[in-house]
């Protein structure tokens, strides 16, 4: 009968080894990892020229949109989706002409609403949300 306790003679000796210097360097590596994993989210500090540029583009966009809405869009108002907003950003980046811009905005028409004062207010609220999306998109592009 085989000695079922043969394993007991060998069990307590450690057959595992580690790479050289593993334990000595562990603390340093662990603290480095903690520093990386628990790094707080960096605040975005935009340089002033960038802030002025964003504000300028946003102002031109708002004025331009109102103007385009009054003189180029159809009587049914159009709610622009985020994709259309980014196209407007591309407009300023690529120097597209007004006709191309109008066409791009028309292609992104997703909804039509009846003209009404309340809808105009809704539209402005929608604009505020998308305006922030523009700024976010610009920030993401910058960083």
């Amino acid at each position: 009968m085989k000695d079922s306790n043969i394993w007991q003679d060998r069990a307590k000796s450690n057959p595992f080894i580690v790479p050289q210097g593993y334990f000595e360097s562990f603390e340093e590596r662990m603290m480095a990892r903690i520093a990386v994993e628990t790094k707080p989210a960096t605040k975005r500090f935009l340089p002033m020229p960038m802030i002025r540029w964003i504000a300028g583009v946003a102002a031109v966009f708002i004025l331009g949109f109102i103007g385009v809405q009054q003189f180029y869009l159809k009587p049914h108002q159009v709610l622009m989706n985020q994709g259309a907003m980014y196209n407007v950003i591309a407009y300023y980046a690529q120097d597209l002409d007004d006709a191309s811009l109008t066409s791009m905005m028309a292609d992104n028409e997703i909804l039509t609403i009846e003209e009404s004062q309340d809808d105009a207010i809704d539209l402005m609220e929608w604009m505020d949300v998308d305006e922030m999306a523009i700024i976010d998109a610009m920030i993401n592009m910058a960083y």
């Binding site: 009968m1 085989k2 000695d3 079922s4 306790n5 043969i6 394993w7 003679d9 060998r10 069990a11 307590k12 000796s13 450690n14 057959p15 595992f16 080894i17 580690v18 790479p19 593993y22 334990f23 562990f26 603390e27 590596r29 662990m30 603290m31 990892r33 903690i34 994993e37 628990t38």
Partner: protein, 179 residues
């Protein structure tokens, strides 16, 4: 530095990292071997150990002292290793591999395993034990912990632990007889 000293240092403003470094210095090797015997591979043990200490770092602000500091960090490390082993078991089940053979192959292919044939077989057998049984066996046999300490870490009764340990040793003995 005792566990009490580490906690005391940690609670001082601006000393958290220093306290944690002390905790690392004192316990990292012991926890490593505890994890290594469970997962066998050095690379896996290193991953599990780092993940455990990361969790310990994040959880330290909430340490209430209901248990001793070592018991608490040992429990976190054990749970981390258990999670790893359960995931490994699922992957093996999906691939329909023979777990005994996989365990032996892993040891044979491991450059950081320097055991003889008996040790290779022993660890391959241990690897096939049910997870909790393996845990109890290793903590009792290799770490030489008391049943009361193991009970606190695994949140199990001493009676259940004794039964589990008995079954584990019988299985190992039987495996060597059948060989």
């Amino acid at each position: 530095m005792t566990d009490q000293d580490i906690i005391g240092l940690y609670k001082q403003k601006g000393q958290e990292e220093k306290a944690f470094t002390e905790l690392l210095r004192i316990y990292h090797e012991r926890l490593y071997w505890h994890i290594r015997r469970m997962v066998t591979s050095h690379d896996d043990a290193d991953d599990v150990l780092q993940n455990a200490f990361l969790k310990i770092w994040k959880a330290l602000p909430n340490f209430r002292g209901d248990s001793g500091l070592f018991t608490w960090i040992y429990r976190i490390a054990t749970n981390e290793a258990l999670s790893f082993l359960n995931q490994r078991k699922k992957r093996l089940a999906l691939r329909m591999d023979d777990p005994d053979q996989v365990a032996i192959d892993r040891l044979e292919g491991d450059e950081y395993f320097d055991g003889d044939a008996v040790q290779k077989k022993l660890y391959a057998i241990i690897e096939t034990l049910p997870t909790k049984q393996k845990m109890v066996f290793q903590m009792k046999y290799f770490d030489e912990m008391k049943y009361t300490e193991i009970a606190e870490i695994l949140d199990t009764s001493v009676g259940a632990l004794k039964a589990s340990y008995h079954h584990a040793t019988k299985k190992i003995e039987q495996a060597f007889i059948e060989d």
